[in-house]
């Protein structure tokens, strides 16, 4: 048997194990050796023995019949008729009870769980479907990735007439400007209609070629003359509606100033004095995130004067961009954003 080294201190910690008989024989032997020598250890052991005896008495307590009957009645336990079991039997596996409904539901518990899970999954799918079906269709139009989207970034910059490099302070606007969403959607519709017209034109040309080669018989020619006229009509209508051949412009710029409120108030009063009218959906001088936004129409002659008003505070120049929206002669449309300069 291997010899175990035990100190007095460790022995004191092993009193409980000694009493419950969970010490291995070598440690037990060593513990008994210390027990003969150490009076404190012996006292501790006696205390623990006494406590164990007391606890042994505590477990003799029983439930009164009245209380047992109450519990059985209150919780439908059926305890009174049951055979009394010793505590050791508590942990053994119990025989199944002959309760029809308990058996019925316990047998089908897995099935019910599956049904519940399926129901939850279906409900979730329905919710997702409802949400997705209510989203705008443009979000799912992946094929037209080359076409203009609903979200507006300043795409006219590529075709700008003047270089924005002239104004050091003015930065390219990269944010999405919400009140121009409507303009863009109109642009989208227009692009679509022009595409349709092109398709119609192509079909007309093809038909004309076929007719000239004489492949088609007379009734066929007659039937095909209808789409030709329809196509012509659409082309004519498209020509009428197409003002984009003329050049129209949108002037826009951003200026960073130190005193946002006073500058923007001054600019607003200047605009009002000079007969500027708001364009877009928001009022002139609309506040957004430490900046103020001016979208307006004004006489084109006021352009330089307007630039001079704002140039007092920082280098400022309006940049001109091509835009499909028609502006009346002598008028200009501009978007000016005055932003708070970072400290």
């Amino acid at each position: 048997m291997p010899k175990v080294h035990l100190t007095k201190f460790v022995c004191k910690e092993l009193v409980y194990d000694y009493l419950t008989g969970s010490l291995d024989p070598s440690r037990r032997e060593k513990f008994q050796e210390f027990l003969n020598e150490d009076l404190d250890l012996k006292k501790k052991l006696d205390r623990n023995k006494h406590a164990l005896l007391y606890v042994g008495e505590l477990k003799k307590i029983e439930l009164s019949e009245a209380y047992q009957a109450y519990l059985a009645e209150a919780h439908n336990l059926g305890l009174v008729d049951q055979k009394l079991e010793t505590p050791a039997m508590v942990h053994e596996e119990k025989a199944p009870q002959n309760n029809f409904w308990t058996d019925f539901w316990s047998e089908r518990a897995e099935f019910l769980k599956l049904m519940r899970r399926t129901g939850e999954a279906l409900a979730l799918a329905a919710v997702v479907f409802l949400v997705v079906s209510n989203l705008p269709k443009e979000l799912f139009d992946f094929k037209s990735s080359g076409k203009p989207t609903v979200l507006l970034t300043d795409k006219n910059k590529s075709s700008s007439v003047e270089s924005p490099a002239n104004t050091a302070r003015v930065e390219h606007e990269e944010e999405v400007i919400t009140d121009e969403i409507m303009d863009e959607s109109e642009e989208l519709v227009k692009a679509k209609s022009s595409k349709e017209e092109k398709v119609a034109k192509k079909s007309v040309d093809k038909q004309a070629q076929k007719n000239s080669s004489g492949v088609l018989s007379t009734p066929a020619k007659l039937t095909n003359s209808r789409p030709e006229t329809a196509a012509r009509k659409t082309v004519a209508r498209a020509d009428k509606d197409e003002p984009a051949k003329q050049n129209f412009y949108l002037y826009r710029s951003i200026i960073y100033v130190e005193n946002l409120i006073s500058v923007s108030d001054e600019f607003l009063s200047y605009l009002e004095k000079n007969g500027a009218k708001k364009a877009g959906k928001v009022k002139m001088g609309w506040e957004k995130n430490r900046s103020r936004y001016f979208h307006f129409h004004i006489d084109e002659s006021k352009r330089e004067e307007m630039e001079a008003v704002l140039s007092k505070y920082a280098p400022f120049r309006l940049n001109r961009y091509d835009h499909w929206r028609k502006t009346p002669d002598g008028k200009m449309r501009a978007i000016v954003e005055i932003r708070q300069k970072a400290n």
């Binding site: 205390r47 007391y54 606890v55 003799k60 307590i61 009245a66 209380y67 336990l77 505590p87 508590v90």
Partner: protein, 163 residues
């Protein structure tokens, strides 16, 4: 739920709560909770029983302390009035020492003592239910038994089984 399990619940609360009526209330609550939890959980029933009863005991003790130990204001069910003595002790047994230690000392180790030595639940179940290591549970048991022994010592805290 078997009779022995119901007895274990009632006895546990009788020993860890400071009043019989509180113990009866806690027993009712524990049986209700266990009935519903046993259906949902796949854990061993005895482990659920230990967990549930220990949680309820903690809450009840808190309630008792917050109500400044004034049980007159507490609305116990009327059915309790008909039960004069819910648990019957052997005539020789005095629980005075136990009540005293319950008032003075930390409860968690005493819960373990009741589960392990009064109700004789397997240590493994107690270990699983208390989320501690085996060694920790054994150490706490040893400590609480030693403490109880010191209360029972003749002379100092003079209570014994026959006091």
């Amino acid at each position: 739920m078997t009779e022995a399990q119901v007895r274990a619940i009632a006895v546990f609360f009788y020993y860890v709560l400071p009043h019989e009526l509180l113990a009866m209330e806690a027993t009712d609550r524990a049986i209700k909770e266990l009935k519903s939890r046993a259906k949902k959980s796949e854990e061993i029933f005895e482990i659920i029983l230990i967990k549930t009863c220990s949680n309820i005991a903690r809450k009840k003790r808190k309630e008792y302390l917050s109500e400044a130990k004034d049980l007159v204001q507490h609305n116990f069910p009327k059915a309790y009035d008909n039960i004069k003595e819910p648990l019957i002790r052997p005539s020789a047994l005095s629980v005075a020492a136990w009540r005293q230690i319950l008032r003075d000392e930390d409860h968690e180790s005493l819960y373990l003592l009741v589960w392990a030595h009064v109700l004789e639940f397997p240590i493994d179940y107690i270990v699983l239910a208390s989320n501690c290591s085996h060694g920790t549970v054994m150490h706490r048991l040893s400590q609480s038994l030693n403490l109880l022994g010191s209360y029972l010592q003749p002379g100092s805290q003079a209570w014994g089984p026959n006091a």
